[in-house]
Symmetry: C2
Subunit: 301 residues, 2 copies
């Protein structure tokens, strides 16, 4: 297989991970953790979300976190923004990139954003235009690409239509989310065959949750098709809001281990990652679900 | 990808799973569990191991188990045998197939069998010849194919030499074991490119442990190369003797879920599998590590 020589891992643990944890980290601990992550070799950190604290109380301190982290010039710092209000805060905090989000399925979009898909576009259009005017790049998340908890399988044409609209608005990269972790390698392949007729693999990122354990298999299948950007959370933080004890995002530490063994460059230092996982694990007072951390706790007795 | 339309899953939970569990199931529970497994649609069950109880006390009741299970004529019942003594017992218990085993790395072979690799061949030759004379088919396990806990990476030529010797002795299928769960999809691909120059994919099975979470990714990569036989343990039973809390064999229930989603026929009924996993989980008094069982326990609150 003619795999890419290197990949980019986008660490979403401080946002997608923490927003699905019951225990809320202190602002100081978040800052300390993000500062540690900044020196693991990860080149991209999504550090928080500027959504209303009523929806995501875990990230209510987004402004303090984004303002007080020590930035490593080699790292891109990103934050999620749902609307103009969120964007204004993100700009005031000098993040490098903002992410907007919507779902591929109507019911999930309605549940998550309280708007229909067509009502969502104008909101995103305004945010994207303003962000670009402010010199920011914009990433777009599409959720429920491979399955919706309410509607089941999602029509790929619907996903590709959303991609087209978002790219036209000026998005630089779309992250395709398997929000509930049901994608199989066949779905990934079938989707990418269609998507890569329209877009370069460099403009697409894959965002897998490991609910059914298939995330690494799906990542390798995406890699077979030339995709080089993958989202993950350190230690597999986060869980699944639709199945409280199930796995969250694919674990950064397991992903880096696999890429290292596949001789695909990530730039990430495994030992620094584990140290950083141990830190957040202690603060969250739980054993993180990644295989790497299970190995670690075993080796310590 | 031109994947096979159907695959064979060989359930090794009653042997490879249980032999690595601390708690020893009662003979009656083992028999009840195997009887349940016989009606899940699985076509192959490795029910026990006729090794000396000093080495594997968990399977000390191999004869009682093998004699007292109710056989489904649609299922092949197999057992592991280390030597002639084990073979005699297996034949007396009327198993359909026997499995022999050795390691691809000298140190692991020595630790596991107390013989060098070259000392192991004559023992296996005698067992294989006698089993065939008795009308049994013989399966061969090779351990540490993708990495040894003592020696690190293993030379593929060494593995292929062992394959050649075992096939020449009359083995019908070789199961290539990633005993410590370190194989990456690249290793699987590199190995299979060499192996499939020599052997048909139907004569090779893959046996992955999920220690690092890569088992499903490796299975999909093997499937890309036409491999259609995979070993697994229900619920991911078993763990890793070199890392006590880490995952065991890849979980049959996760594997069947993935194949179903890939539209690849297994013949296995997911609900019957889960019932059977719940039974053994209760008897072992532990939550099985598969993703499917985590989903199940969540959905029950």
């Amino acid at each position: 297989m003619n795999w890419p020589k290197s990949v980019t891992i986008k660490e979403v643990g401080p946002r997608d991970g923490l927003q699905n944890e019951k225990l809320i980290l202190s602002t100081a601990d978040k800052i300390e953790w993000i500062n540690q992550l900044s020196f693991t070799g990860l080149s991209y950190l999504e550090v928080t979300s500027f959504v209303h604290p009523k929806w995501i109380p875990q990230l209510a301190d987004a402004v303090e976190v984004a303002r007080n982290i020590k930035k490593n010039p080699l790292v891109t710092y990103a934050a999620l923004v749902p609307n103009m209000k969120g964007l204004e805060k993100a700009i005031a905090c000098s993040v490098d990139e903002v992410s907007v989000f919507m779902s591929a399925s109507e019911t999930h979009n309605k549940q998550n954003i309280n708007k229909t898909i067509s009502e969502t576009f104008p909101v995103l259009q305004e945010v994207i235009a303003e962000a670009i005017a402010e010199g920011k790049t914009v990433r777009g998340y599409i959720s429920t690409v491979f399955g919706c908890p309410y509607e089941g399988e999602v029509d790929y044409n619907q996903v590709l239509n959303i991609c087209e609209k978002l790219f036209t608005m000026g998005i630089s990269e779309i992250s395709l989310g398997d929000t509930i972790g049901v994608a199989s390698p066949r779905q990934v392949e079938n989707f990418l065959i269609q998507a890569l007729k329209l877009y370069q693999p460099q403009s697409l990122a894959m965002h897998f949750h490991d609910t059914r354990g298939m995330a690494l298999a799906n990542i390798v299948k995406a890699l077979d098709y030339g995709i080089t950007t993958f989202d993950s959370s350190l230690g597999g933080l986060g869980g699944c809001p639709y199945a409280p004890g199930a796995s969250g995002n694919v674990a950064t530490d397991d992903l880096v281990y696999m890429f290292d063994k596949m001789l695909i460059h990530t730039g990430v230092n495994q030992e620094a990652l584990v140290d950083s996982a141990l830190f957040v694990q202690e603060k969250l007072n739980k054993t993180l679900p990644s295989h790497r951390m299970a190995m670690y706790s075993d080796s310590k007795g």
